[in-house]
Every structure is written in C-alpha cells, then in structure tokens.
Symmetry: C2
Subunit: 234 residues, 2 copies
Amino acid sequence: MSGRLIAVGVGPGDPELITLKGARLIREADVVIAPVGDNSTASVAHGIIDGLVDPRRQQLLTRVFPMKKELAEMRPFWEAAAVEVAGLLAQGKTVVFATLGDPFLYSTFLYFHQVFAERFPGAAVEVVPGISSIHAAAAVAGRPLGLGADRIAILPATFEQDRLRQTLREFDTVVLMKVHRVFDQVRNLLRELGRLENAVYVRRVGLPGETVIRDLDQIQVEDLDYLSLVLVGK
Amino acid sequence: MSGRLIAVGVGPGDPELITLKGARLIREADVVIAPVGDNSTASVAHGIIDGLVDPRRQQLLTRVFPMKKELAEMRPFWEAAAVEVAGLLAQGKTVVFATLGDPFLYSTFLYFHQVFAERFPGAAVEVVPGISSIHAAAAVAGRPLGLGADRIAILPATFEQDRLRQTLREFDTVVLMKVHRVFDQVRNLLRELGRLENAVYVRRVGLPGETVIRDLDQIQVEDLDYLSLVLVGK
C-alpha cells in the first residue's frame, strides 16, 4: 500500500479545538473519512470537517458505524471500512480518518483500527492526537485533573460498585464515564464517601447542549445524556 | 479587574500541536507569559510562542518558576507572578499564560493558579485545553489509552510499591509518570505481573531527544529522563 493513513482527533466539538496539524492534514488529504455513530455527534464532527475540506479537490466519505451492544454486530461495518480504506491506500491516496476527541481515547477510530490491523497487518497508521472530552470537560468546569503527585483514574461508572468505591478512596481525581446509566447509584456513592461537593457533572462538552452542573442534587433524569461524565476532585 | 486571563495549553512541544483557538488567543493577547521551570523545556515552549507573538504589538514576559522539592520554596515566585498578572488585568490587558501540555494536567500553570485564586478570589480564569504529554506519548508509541469500558490510571511511579501493584492489577491501562526516579523497581514490578511486554517507555515526547523504547530491558541509566513516562497496556 503506497498511500498514507492518518487518524486525526478533531477535538471535543468546538471547530477551534482541533490542532494546527490536524487541520492541515485534513486540508491536504485526498480522502477524509468521517465516521457517524450517533446522530447527535455526527453533525458536530461534520461541522468541523466541512470547514476544512474542499469538495472540488477532496473526497469526503461519511460512513455509518452504529453503536451496538455486541461488538460482533458492529464488526461488519468496520470490516467494510477497512477494506475500503485499504483500497484507497493501494491507489496511493492519503486518507484521513477523522474522529471526535482523541483517536486513542474511547474513540470510534479504535474499533476500526483493531479490525484494520488484523486484516492488514503491517500497514502503518499515523495518529495525530486531539483534545479529548475529558480535558475539555475539566477546562469548561474549571476543575484541574491533577497536580504534582496526584493520582487520576478514568473509568466507566458502570463498573462494580465495590471497586468503584475502592477507586474513589484511592485516587485524587476520578473521572466517571457513562454515568447516565447509573446516575443515582453514583450520586449515592459520592454522598457516602463525602465527595459529592467535589464532584461536577459535565454533559455534552463541546457539543450543542453543553451543560455544567456543580450541584449533583439538582440533576434530574432529563439532564442525563449518553455524552456526559462526572469529574470527582479531592 | 477589567482584563482577561486565559491559560493556554500549547501542547507537548511540536508547534503544530497547539489548537487553532490557543494559537489565535496568543496572537490576540496584549501580554503572553511563558513560564520557565526547567531549561530543557523552556526553549521548547518559547519556540512555539515565538512563532505566534508579534513583539512590535505584544509583550512577551518570561518568568522563571524553579522546581523545588518544597512547595513553600516555590511560592514566592508564584506570588510575584500573581501580583504582576493582577496588575496587568487591572490595566484592562488580555493576558495569556502559556503552558506546555494541558493547563489542567500536571502543568506549571496549576501552581500559579492556586496562588492567584487565593490572592485574588473571584478573578475569572479561562482555560483552553492542550494536548497533554500522555495523549502525545500514546500517539507516538502507537498505544491506545483506552477503548470501550477500559479503566485507565495515571499516577506517579514513585507511589508505594504495594498500591502500585494493586493499580496495575485493577486497571487496563496504567500511565506511570516520574518513572526515572524508580525505574528499576518499576521494571521488576512489571516483570512480576507479566506486563513488561505490554509496557512502552516514552522519553521527552514532543521535545528534542524524543525516544520510544518498546523493550524495557534495553533501557540503560542514560536513557532515563525527568520528562519520561511508561504506558502499560493490557
């Protein structure tokens, strides 16, 4: 394959939070692939890419990667994309796979990458880091992630309750992902550990509907969203 | 204070890894403060900022913040900077505090911020996230930080041995900071836990002398550096 595959993190949503390098590589690419997993984020990633791509000169491919419970159900979509990308690389094209946030942190790209690396072992992939939703949420909430010798844990709130409790006891900062599914449990646990006042809820950071809620007792069911996290400080 | 204080993360060192927003705010600022803590990183942050600042129109202030063992020894430097920044804000200036990496993750800015917030409570600080050395190291090493429901821990390798062992058992990805001080212990622990082959050493990411070493057994004392980390995957 004589082409070049580059994963570019476009940042959390604000079109200005892409890096200079990411923006340049999107502008220079022959083909830009924009994954669409979820309708609410699709238009956001597109908004960022649309401002950079010149449709007279470049090809923009939108590919749907539905989020399913079982990885096996998603695999055919990744397989198809891997074969398509390999074909473009064989033609010598420079292909950018654009992904929200950072390509190496909980991204859509990582699923593609696993399948691509299995099917085409040895094919090189360059990775351009992006601002992840975690860094963006910390900035928006005004809450540092870690200073000096602080310990930081990032994990799904859906993790076993006992081990979540253990993590909250051991770490200075805990970032709880996927919190919408188990919000009441999380809130009770934070109250039990006396860390409710140190917690802040950030919903849809960088996206339309971005909200920061500092008093977790104010949160209602309608405030919860798939794209939300809780930052727990010291 | 009628001015505006903005902390801008300039990224890990590559001048192209600053965000569009960070670059714009540095170009628009009246005053840019570049902290100098350590001679080896000073020139790097400067290189990034120098390409953006127009000295005919803007003021570039270099301020030395030496790294000492005791926070109390560093405090006078932060105090002096806080008073200086407050003075600029009182004059209505827009001041950018530029910091390597991300302002809210193990940055020089955070020490300044603590002192500034104590001395001038209520003064607003805007934060523009940057690419941290952790995201940059993962990208350079080709090692994802986390996928799906993975748990990630970031902590100093100087942490108690038993608790480090516990963290390595509990988390899918462990990022060990400050690893140069205790490298032999860390290597032995990773060997004991069967995770040596999943570990990669990244030195001076984004800076001159950037090195990725995938076989930790190859690492000699002279490879160790204050600015290094070990990424431990599954």
